[in-house]
């Protein structure tokens, strides 16, 4: 018995000493910066961490950084208010939902001169879909949703969402694991608007998604990237921003925007209504709009930047004029941006999605 004790005690002491050792090396410390802090809530891996350090150095404002995986996960956290965020980076329709729920603060653009100067006018125009007066949001990234396929596994030309229902690719298809994106595919395939609230149209889309389920290898969010690189699947639904990175890692991959049309999305910086550090938040957004910073972020995450000045700085011609990163949208039809459809429609979407998932 004694032995057991001595051994456990030794191990326990080891734990303690390891812990205290780390405390001594001091890789922690939560001291806020000399000019206060700013709490940022962003998508996972959605900016170059170096830019945060640069911001801290230049402004003396400490960045508290937190990440979310989907808009739907972000919303209840912001709504509950148990954690006070200053700056968030939601997508189009979620910004509208936040505005509708009176959770956002109007921005003072005098403090964000870089925004009006560098962001292209077309993106402000597009933002009016969800922020009609451009009062609340500053575009950060944009893109399309399309099909990524592996040329060695798919021999036919890919130009339609219908390939996701082709039994030849059973167990080789990766679908998006978020309500709106999944229904977008189902609705667009049938020629409906992806902002549909029509019960019959949604029912059709749901039935298509259920029919598709046996062919789907997995429902994923961003894992589609690793799985496509590793030749795990032949076809995946993916955000255009991931396309450049995946192609770089695996040259067999090709990205297309289907002919039925798709989602053109914008993720924008917004400031919450009860942000404890509103001034710092605006400084942060202004910093993110600086051309050199926007470029760093673009090169790190490869999601298209609406920052025209930053785009000018891209050295490689084929990336600056890449049809994937910066497509000429006038060539495509059926392009739409998500809108917030109200609580009842949200509930309907959620219920239908649950039906799909539990089949």
């Amino acid at each position: 018995m004694k032995k057991r004790l001595s051994m456990l005690s030794l191990l326990a002491t080891a734990c303690v000493s390891a812990a205290s050792m780390f405390s001594l090396t001091g890789c922690g410390g939560n001291a806020s910066g000399e000019n206060g802090e700013v709490i940022v809530y962003n998508w996972g891996e959605y900016l170059d961490p170096e830019t945060l350090e640069m911001f801290e150095e230049e402004t003396g404002i400490k960045v508290v950084y937190d990440e979310f995986e989907t808009n739907e996960i972000m919303f209840p956290k912001v709504e509950a208010g148990a954690t006070e965020y200053d700056v968030i980076c939601p997508s189009d329709y979620m910004i509208q939902k936040l505005i509708d729920n009176d959770l956002l603060a109007e921005l003072n653009f005098d403090n964000i001169p870089n925004a009006r100067a560098n962001i292209g006018s077309q993106y402000w125009e597009q933002s009016k879909e969800f922020d009609p007066e451009n009062k609340y949001s500053v575009p950060y990234c944009w893109g399309t949703v399309g099909i990524l396929y592996n040329k060695t596994m798919v021999n036919e030309p890919v130009d339609s969402w219908s390939i996701l229902w082709d039994e030849a690719y059973a167990d080789n298809i990766l679908m998006q694991d978020s309500v709106r994106d999944a229904f977008m595919v189902g609705l667009k395939l049938n020629g409906y608007s992806m902002n549909s609230t029509d019960a019959a149209e949604l029912e059709t889309a749901k039935n298509f998604l259920i029919e598709q389920k046996p062919l789907v290898q997995a429902y994923v969010v961003d894992q589609v990237r690793d799985k496509m690189i590793g030749n795990e699947a032949a076809i995946g639904v993916i955000y255009s921003g991931e396309a450049i990175y995946t192609q770089r890692e695996n040259p067999d991959l090709e990205y297309v925007i289907p002919k039925e049309g798709t989602n053109v999305w914008i993720d924008s910086w917004v400031v919450t209504k009860n942000a404890p550090n509103k001034e710092n938040a605006e400084k942060f957004i202004n910093f993110m709009c600086r051309p050199d910073i926007a470029l760093m972020n673009f090169e790190f995450i490869t999601y298209s930047t609406p920052n025209d000045a930053a785009r000018e700085l891209i050295e490689e011609d084929d990336i600056r004029n890449s049809p994937i990163a910066f497509p000429d949208l006038s060539q495509y039809s059926g392009l739409e941006t998500f809108r917030y459809l109200g609580e009842d429609a949200d509930q309907l979407y959620n219920d239908l999605w649950k039906e799909v998932k539990s089949k």
Binding site: S9, A18, E84, Q223, G230
Partner: protein
């Protein structure tokens, strides 16, 4: 019938193979993770050759180091607090009547037997309803709560073995209750306290679900950090860090096990 002393020391090959297979099953994923930490490629989907670069990159990665720090701090403080609260509670409960004791132990076991998801949700609802600010504090409170039962599980049997009359004798001889406790009772229950501490430390370290529901902005433990990374593909630095932690503990374990032992 040939009966020697203890149970039959069967050590057939079949048994060894069986144990080997189980250990392969238990440790195969761990070997995989260790391999991945040496993979030169950023994605786990490709093997680009052997490299040590992630070990170098690890120490420059502020977010991971911060998460590691948080994890260790929470595990350390939570298990320490749980040990103190749990041990005191054990002493107190031991003095109670049978019925009372059964009721209290029943309540104590709830966080251990209940589903993590329910415990996490219930604490989240508590914190939100009573206006707690989510952060390091809420994680700590939750971890202490689910660590206490493990401590009590280890300490309770020890306390029961302590002869109450020795403690009373010490008091009769003029020792103050506190002194009597530390001189007489504490050495006897120390092993239980230590293994309780170790158990609580491990549980806190490995917890994801409860932290997931009770964490706040910018406060990540390794678990929650990994969960957000799952979607994007785990950063290889994370594999490197886990390998370091695992190997350290493994070495300690062997070292401790090899130290000379006194025979019974």
């Amino acid at each position: 019938m040939n009966h020697k002393t203890k149970r039959m020391p069967f050590k057939t090959t079949a048994q060894k193979i069986y144990i080997g297979l189980i250990f392969l099953f238990l440790y195969a994923p761990i070997l995989t993770l260790i391999m991945l930490s040496f993979n030169a490629s950023r994605t786990r989907a490709k093997w680009d050759g052997f490299s040590l670069k992630w070990y170098a990159a690890l120490f420059d990665n502020r977010e991971i180091m911060q998460a590691l720090w948080n994890t260790l701090l929470i595990a350390f403080v939570a298990s320490l607090a749980a040990v103190i609260i749990g041990t005191v509670a054990c002493i107190a409960i031991n003095r109670m009547g049978r019925k009372k004791r059964a009721v209290i132990m029943g309540i104590t076991n709830i966080p251990m037997l209940n589903a993590d998801i329910v415990t996490g949700i219930s604490l989240m609802l508590l914190f939100i309803s009573f206006g707690f600010k989510f952060g390091l504090g809420t994680i700590l409170l939750s971890h202490i709560t689910f660590c206490i039962p493990y401590v009590m599980l280890c300490v309770m049997p020890r306390i029961r073995q302590v002869d109450a009359s020795v403690y009373e004798a010490a008091m009769d001889l003029g020792a103050s209750p506190l002194r009597a406790f530390f001189k007489v009772v504490f050495p006897d229950i120390l092993p239980g306290v230590l293994s309780g501490y170790l158990m609580a430390f491990t549980m806190s370290l490995d917890d994801f679900i409860i932290t997931h529901f009770t964490k706040g902005a910018g406060v990540d433990t390794l678990s929650t950090k990994i969960y957000t990374e799952v979607k994007k593909g785990i950063k290889p630095e994370m594999y490197a860090l886990s390998t370091i932690i695992f190997v350290t503990v493994l070495l300690l374990l062997f070292l401790v096990n090899r130290t000379p032992k006194e025979k019974n």
